[in-house]
């Protein structure tokens, strides 16, 4: 457990936990950004440079901004009055706890089988590109299709209904 890892893990957990628990939605998004940037740093630490930068580009540059936009456009906040569904919140938290317990147990009991840290593996962008174009060309194409569909779909969904039907 290096200090870097601990530090980054702490910021990640803090950020995400804040994102899930703060009242102010914009604060949530900003906290989420913090968490995701730290996560990207964790990727970098693991040697996955490309994924790390992609993470920043996509999550900070796009998803967070989108969420902020959505917040702004819906002008929403958590309703001031909690409408008596505290049991619901409790049960949700409970379930999450159970999930963590199960996963943690699984990790704890399953460790040792794999944990072999080799030398810093090479993951240069070149090879990623080559792999994308050869072994993974079909998923790549499908992702391209998916993104196009999402682009068009999101556009149509967000379009004003009066204009859409025109």
């Amino acid at each position: 457990m290096t200090i870097t890892f601990l530090l980054l893990a702490a910021t990640t957990i803090t950020g995400t936990a804040a994102a899930m628990s703060l009242k102010n939605l914009v604060h949530c998004v900003l906290a989420l950004t913090l968490g995701l940037v730290s996560l990207a740093a964790l990727y970098l630490q693991l040697g996955a440079q490309f994924v790390g930068f992609t993470q920043i580009l996509v999550y900070v540059g796009a998803v967070a901004i989108l969420a902020a936009f959505a917040i702004m456009m819906t002008r929403s906040a958590e309703p001031a009055v909690l409408t008596g569904s505290s049991s619901f919140r409790v049960s949700g938290a409970l379930i999450a706890l159970v999930v963590f317990a199960v996963l943690g147990w699984a990790v704890w009991s399953g460790t040792g089988a794999l944990a072999v840290l080799g030398p810093e593996p090479e993951a240069p962008v070149n090879e990623i590109g080559v792999a994308l174009m050869h072994r993974f060309v079909l998923p790549l194409e499908i992702i391209g299709l998916l993104l196009t569909a999402a682009l068009i779909g999101a556009g149509i969904l967000a379009m004003d209904e009066t204009r859409r039907t025109k």
Binding site: F88, S91, G92, I95, A96, V102, W105, S109
Partner: protein, 703 residues
């Protein structure tokens, strides 16, 4: 090789150039078109004379008189198709004849067509014709010959239909083209067959040509399924082409109709040259025609030549009989041409190349003379062509009368001085000594009698008596040929033609008169020239064998024919254009029958043409109803199946399906109670399931 042999192609190409240039010229450049055509023809004539002289020189030097020049045209497979031209006596004679007659007729046309709107076009077509005809003459390749042959047919079509506004002319041109094409198709097959068998279409190619002995012998050994050797088959097929082109029975029907064209055209194409091309063709491929199996003696005539003889004899007689009962000046000459072409064929069949060709040459001159004379008469009579409406022209058109008489006597074969006598006599003599049958001789002799008769009839109608032109009835229509003739001359009275028309007549007349002396039995220069044999002056030949009796009897026959003509038509001048024909009075039904040319046209109309029309209707009907109907039926069947399927779907399959649907929706109603409508509730269930599965997996792994 001599310059003239190498450049013989210039002879046909010069008129072709003239034709090309005047085709592109404006309609107004009349002088240019005419001078181009005449000029090119004159140069061609000079070249032809040179070629002729060259052959003469070779002959006097005792060298081979046959020279060829071949070149490659195109390649298919591993072999080249070669074309070429040939210079031999036959070619040389024909070249001189065609260019000379052609040139004179071109000159004549300048006068005759003077007032026509399409003057330029006319000379373009004429020059094209001359080019193609000369191409036929010099071709050393059956394919080249055929190609030029077809172009000759095209120009004939164009020139017959020159006055295209006249429906009869348009129809006649179409008829001419199609009828000759009927003959050309077997010819085409013959070419193809010959090529398949001998591997070449060159006539002479240093022993490798298809008319040379190697090839002929090969052809003689090739049997056909029909029993005769392929040489005979090919020869007969090729002869079919000659039948069509030379107006032989039964494909002669187009030739009289072709008189719808301008008279110079009739003179040049349908009397002197093109129609003779069939005869020339037979002469050209004579080695093939006369080929017969080696075992027979020399006297044995081949099957093909027998066919040629019989067809020729029938045509000669047939044409002569019909000519008797015609009233149109040009139609009489046309049937006369048919008859004379039959003579030539017969001559080829019974006597060989020289006999037929001699008559061809002499006929070319005197018949073009006659046609040009007729043209002059028509011109003078402002477009009138009916001999009953002429008369008395002897005084009015002296030059025309004189030259026409020369031509007429030459055609009749008036003894001793006229070229027709010698050439016709030779044919009759050869027919008399034919070893197969005497029938052709008698048919020919009778035809000669009739020839003399109808020509004298024509002469008396046209030149005898008084002019009947003025009494033309109001209903009589001027032919649209040259509607401006009358207006131009200001009067309707007959008159002599201009110099440009009479001079060619006067040039042709002496030739028609004297040419015969080149081929008398006593001095058979022409024959020896063509057959490349030694020439000897032998007056004894006149009295040899049956020569003298035949000569005398034919003289008698001619005189008899002229006498009968005078008896019936010349004794009393014909008074009125409306009066019935003197001969017709003897037997009106027969005369009408002859006047309609044995109703051959009507017969063809009722049979061949009708069959054709019916077949086309049937094809169209088949197309519309049977083939298309089959498709429609299939479509309908498929549509019916689709309907059936649809029925089954809606009523059989779907009813079961509806049941299933209902049960599904019932169970759906029950299950829908689980849906609280809260997304997170669903998510919780998913999470719970996830936990359960993970636990299950772990537990399994532990065990």
């Amino acid at each position: 090789m001599n310059w003239i042999v190498r450049n013989l192609w210039l002879v046909p190409v010069l008129p072709l150039l003239a034709a090309g240039i005047s085709a592109l010229a404006k309609r107004k450049s009349r002088a240019m078109a005419a001078s181009l055509a005449i000029g090119s023809m004159a140069i061609s004539f000079l070249l032809s004379v040179w070629a002729f002289a060259h052959v003469l020189l070779l002959r006097s030097n005792g060298q081979a008189t046959q020279q060829v020049f071949n070149f490659r045209w195109f390649q298919f497979g591993n072999e080249w198709l070669s074309l070429g031209w040939i210079l031999n006596p036959l070619t040389a004679v024909m070249l001189v004849m065609v260019t000379f007659v052609g040139m004179l007729i071109f000159i004549y046309s300048v006068g005759y067509m003077e007032h026509d709107d399409n003057f330029t076009r006319f000379f373009c077509f004429l020059a094209l014709f001359a080019s193609a005809m000369l191409g036929v003459v010099i071709a050393n390749n059956l394919l080249l010959l055929f190609m030029c042959w077809e172009i000759v047919g095209l120009t004939s079509y164009l020139l017959i239909g020159f006055w295209y506004e006249k429906p009869s002319a348009a129809a006649a041109s179409k008829k001419a083209f199609i009828t000759t094409r009927i003959g050309d198709l077997p010819f085409f097959l013959g070419i193809v067959w010959l090529y398949a068998q001998s591997g070449t279409l060159l006539f002479y190619n240093n022993g490798a040509g298809c008319l040379e002995s190697t090839s002929i012998n090969h052809l003689l050994t090739q049997p056909t399924p029909l029993g005769f050797c392929s040489a005979t088959g090919i020869a007969l097929l090729v002869f079919c082409g000659a039948i069509g082109k030379s107006g032989q029975f039964p494909l002669h029907v187009w030739l009289p109709d072709a008189m719808e064209g301008p008279t110079p055209v009739s003179a040049l194409i349908h009397a002197a040259t093109m129609v003779a091309a069939g005869v020339f063709l037979v002469a050209r491929v004579y080695p093939l025609m006369s080929a017969h199996s080696g075992i027979a003696t020399e006297l044995t005539t081949s099957t093909a030549l027998q066919a040629v003889t019989w067809i020729g004899a029938i045509t000669a007689l047939f044409g002569a009989v019909i000519a008797v009962a015609q009233f149109d000046i040009k139609r009489i000459l046309a049937y006369s041409t048919v008859s004379q072409l039959g003579y030539m064929m017969m001559g080829l069949g019974v006597g060989g190349v020289a006999v037929g060709m001699f008559h061809l040459i002499t006929h070319a001159f005197f018949k073009s003379l006659l046609f040009l004379g007729a043209g002059s008469v028509i011109h003078g009579c402002s477009g009138e062509q009916d001999i009953r409406r002429m008369g008395g022209l002897r005084k009015l058109m002296p030059f025309t009368f004189a030259t026409y008489t020369v031509g007429m006597l030459a055609l009749c074969g008036f003894p001793f001085f006229f070229s027709g006598f010698w050439s016709k006599d030779e044919i009759l003599h050869a027919a008399h000594s034919w070893n197969i049958s005497q029938a052709p001789y008698y048919m020919g002799a009778f035809a000669a009698l009739l020839t003399a008769f109808y020509m004298s009839r024509q002469m008396f109608y046209i030149f005898g008596g008084k002019s009947r032109l003025t009494e033309s009835s109001e209903g009589h229509s001027h032919s649209p040929v040259s509607p401006d003739h009358s207006s131009h001359h200001g009067s309707n009275s007959p008159h002599e033609s201009p110099k440009v028309m009479t001079v060619p007549l006067m040039l042709l007349a002496p030739v028609a008169l004297l040419l015969g002396f080149f081929g008398t039995p006593a001095w058979p220069w022409f024959q020896s020239f063509l057959d490349a044999t030694q020439l000897a002056v032998d007056f004894g030949a006149l009295s040899e064998g049956s020569m003298l009796p035949v000569m005398l009897s034919s003289s008698v026959i001619v005189l008899l024919g002229l006498g009968i003509g005078w008896w019936i038509y010349g004794r009393r001048p014909i008074k009125s254009a409306e009066a019935p024909d003197n001969l017709g009075k003897l037997s009106p039904p027969l005369f009408t029958f002859l006047g309609h040319a044995f109703y051959v046209d009507a017969l063809y109309g009722a049979t061949v043409i009708n069959l054709n029309t019916q077949l086309s209707k049937i094809s169209d009907w088949l197309d519309r109803w049977i083939w298309n109907g089959a498709v429609k039926t299939v479509t309908n069947i498929v549509l019916g199946l689709a309907h059936l399927d649809n029925f089954l779907d809606t009523h059989v399959v779907n009813s079961g399906f509806d049941e299933g649907c209902q049960s599904v929706s019932r169970s759906g109603q029950i299950l829908s109670l689980l849906q609280a409508g809260r997304i997170q509730g669903y998510l919780k269930i998913v999470a719970g399931a996830g936990i359960a599965f993970t636990l299950l997996l772990l537990w399994k792994a532990k065990i």
